[in-house]
Symmetry: C2
Subunit: 171 residues, 2 copies
Amino acid sequence: MGYGIIEVNGQTVTMIVMEVLKLSGKKGNPERLQMIHQKVEELIKIYKPNEFAIEAPFFGKNVQSMLKLGRAQGVAIAAAMSAGLSVTEYSPKKVKQSITGNGNADKTQVWKMLKQLLVLKEQPHYFDATDALAVAVCHHFQMNSVIGNTVKGLKGWEDFIKKNPGRLVKK
Amino acid sequence: MGYGIIEVNGQTVTMIVMEVLKLSGKKGNPERLQMIHQKVEELIKIYKPNEFAIEAPFFGKNVQSMLKLGRAQGVAIAAAMSAGLSVTEYSPKKVKQSITGNGNADKTQVWKMLKQLLVLKEQPHYFDATDALAVAVCHHFQMNSVIGNTVKGLKGWEDFIKKNPGRLVKK
């Protein structure tokens, strides 16, 4: 499981962390899920994010691997929801398009663009981690474009609030 | 999502509840997941179960439906783990075999057997609910046979504790 955390200050986007959670040592499925759940809880406690986004792949090796991936995402989502975070999902195509302008870009192209956007010097060790960072940056772009009212189908703030009632701060 | 809760008192097994959570009114995936998470938390709070078991299907319509099912199971599993419950999974074949003696039994045969075992008079409204009840009864049988030392590969209590350290009450 890869994860990426970014900080947004006005126009400045900074990478806070980009890592993978290694699960190879854990044998049983429930133990793996527990590890993921605890890790996400821990990350939320440490970094106190305002948003949570996750990738929803449309293809997988087989139904079994997709069930496992879904469960892993489910325990991560549960940790986010328990912390009061809203959960947004993006298709891999949407993430790639958002970062590189090309929905069919490969992982190297996505990383190249991320390096430029976030002014990074390091080399990534795992593409699972860069994938996660890409989802975070995609979500940032998406939130900006939603607020900037450029998303297709939205007609002004009134419509945005109507379609996103949860984003309205009640007084 | 179907769920079933049973109570075991010595040799007596009683059905406490067998129900489905209707999700059709909820549109977005995250809202559905939140509903499932809250429902499972609520059920655990009300019925205070000692065990939690879930079905792990090996086939699905497509990878997308399996990802959704996996996520739904994931948030339910997270609720169970947060409550300190151990999580066990069974294949549908194992459940059917455990209840009817035939791993290829159909849902009607499983229900017929459950009715006998639990001395039920009611008619089920949803097979998702009877499926869940079947998992609960399967887990009960499985726990009994584990403790009864008939599971292949287990060599007495010492071996059981070694393989199930979480089931040992520490003093």
